[in-house]
């Protein structure tokens, strides 16, 4: 498909896509390395000697810690990598949930029109009126906090943008000649929607999903920061920031390292989304 290749070319030339993509790949690589490295915990006396080593500092036994250590003498870089697994997994899975839900609801609303459209639009408007964090707190209090709940809760609160975009795209395309042709050939509404309309609406939805991944990671870290998301000892960037808060003055790196990690990866996803949006706009102009 030549349109797809044009899009890829434009993306490859965009420095924002390059920077964003590299950061995200780096984070995934860190997470993968962390998955290989699970040693036994150190004995207690070693922990005391290793507490709060500053970045680029070495412990008495000569081990270098690039990002320093925390109050339990754990290497922050290693923990950051383990945390990346949790944070990335939550972000990507939540965004995927939102994408599926948004495409489904937006597609049905846009194609069916009439009463289903009005109902789904009303639902979307209502969901947009509910501030996300208080609502997430509500879900956390009603059910046990944990990884699965965080993914589900973030997925269920992030689909509205995707739904609106997909609805608009499907509505605009549903009476175009190629759709008429598919209908005239006897395609069922379900087939017209999934085979002909949704593939065309997917690109803007992906932009929203890229932004949504960053947002979900930010929210996960926020919930964990409040002690309501991923529970220690499983490290996530959010609960690492919360743990570093007590030593903010004496050892600021403990909180700053995961804080910077969240900010950089969220920024990477937003740059990628910007680049994708620009590339799609360029594609539309040249069409």
């Amino acid at each position: 498909m030549s349109a797809g290749r044009g899009l890829a070319d434009r993306l490859r030339r965009d420095p924002r896509a390059l920077a964003g993509g590299l950061v995200i790949l780096g984070a995934i690589a860190c997470a993968a390395v962390a998955a290989l490295n699970t040693g036994p915990p150190a004995p207690l006396e070693e922990i005391v000697a290793r507490r709060f080593v500053a970045p680029f500092g070495a412990t008495p036994d000569g081990v270098l810690h690039l990002l320093g250590t925390d109050r339990f003498g754990r290497d922050l870089l290693a923990r950051l990598c383990v945390g990346a697994r949790v944070s990335l997994a939550v972000g990507l899975l939540a965004a995927l949930t939102s994408l599926l839900l948004g495409v489904l609801l937006g597609g049905v609303a846009g194609y069916a029109g009439g009463v289903p459209d009005r109902l789904i639009t009303a639902l979307t408007d209502a969901a947009l009126a509910v501030p996300r964090v208080p609502f997430l707190l509500l879900l956390v209090v009603l059910f046990e906090p944990g990884l699965a709940l965080v993914v589900l809760a973030l997925g269920l609160t992030g689909w509205m943008t995707v739904a609106r975009l997909v609805r608009a795209e499907v509505r605009a395309a549903r009476n175009r000649p190629f759709v008429e042709a598919a209908r005239a050939l006897g395609a069922t509404p379900g087939r017209v929607l999934t085979r002909h309309l949704l593939p065309n609406a997917l690109a803007p939805a992906l932009v929203a999903a890229a932004l949504g991944t960053g947002n979900a990671m930010m929210m996960e870290a926020g919930l964990s920061f409040l002690g309501l998301g991923v529970q220690p000892p499983t490290p996530s960037w959010g609960n690492m920031i919360a743990a570093g808060r007590d030593a903010l003055v004496t050892a600021p790196w403990v909180a700053l390292a995961p804080a910077c990690a969240v900010a950089v990866v969220v920024l990477a996803f937003s740059l990628l989304a910007d680049a994708l949006e620009a590339a799609l706009a360029g594609e539309g102009a040249s069409r």
Binding site: L137, L138, L248
Partner: protein, 330 residues
Amino acid sequence: MPRFLARRILGSLPLVLLVLTATFAALHFAPGDPVRLYLGPDADAAAVNAARHALGLDRPLAVQYLEWLLRFVRGDWGTSLAQHRAVTAVLSDALAPTLLLTGTGLLLTYLLGVTVGTLQAARRGTALDTALTVATTVLAAVPAYVLALGLVLVFTFGSTRWGWPSALRLPAIGAEGVGADFLDPVQRLGDRVRHLVLPALTLSVIGAAGLARFARASVAGALRQPFVAAARARGLAERRVLLRHAARNALLPLVTLLGLQLPALFSGAVFVEAIFAWPGMGRVAVQAVLARDYPVVMAVTAVFALLVIAGNLLADVLAAWSDPRVEESA
């Protein structure tokens, strides 16, 4: 205008009802028996049944729903499980600090965002424009709690260590100082303002970064319009062209962004209040979650949602008031 207002208020009623119904549903289908939570695990079956009957939990769902709705409208929002007092009492203490914080935050958001965006549009393509674009892109990606910790590190701990003037040494806990009751009114006001600076700044910087990007695009678009060329042709000073002609027309649409800003603002307020121990609804909600006090969490969510709906209504009215075409097309 009155007819437009009436129509918009009626139009948002279904949304209010939907939010309230969702609240009831969450309350009703929540796992865990509220009666057992209230009486404790040691209560015997007779006491539980008596309490259930007294609370009306043994009646049909539709009846319970209508009664709950009636009570909600009358201001009876149930009892906090953790504090054993009315939910409305718990919330009424917290509403004013939250409105102060989010109100100040919203004002600063628009002030900062519009100023930066207009400046960028006026200096389009310069190094300043590029620097501000980078800054706003980065700031928009920083989570509120990260920014809050950074500000505390610099303006609470750093400023003391580095011996900065006392105006830059800002408190990071609570809405007023320990001895605030003993200060005279002027000093007390100063104390309150100092406590407000860091939380309000945290809340506004991130939203302002997003808003600045809209404002830049909007003002830059207006600067290309014929009426701007006409104003320039009449020999008006560039400053006047920018502020009186371009910005004024470009910034009115930003009012409608209020509807998108508000949910994010209230979400941010939860984090900001938790970090700065600000005695508002967000902190109440977080504490209630930790105590599994779900009537309070539910009420906070409903109140925030109602505030967003009210804010959207206000934005629509402002838009119609500033641009009569909106009213006609509605």
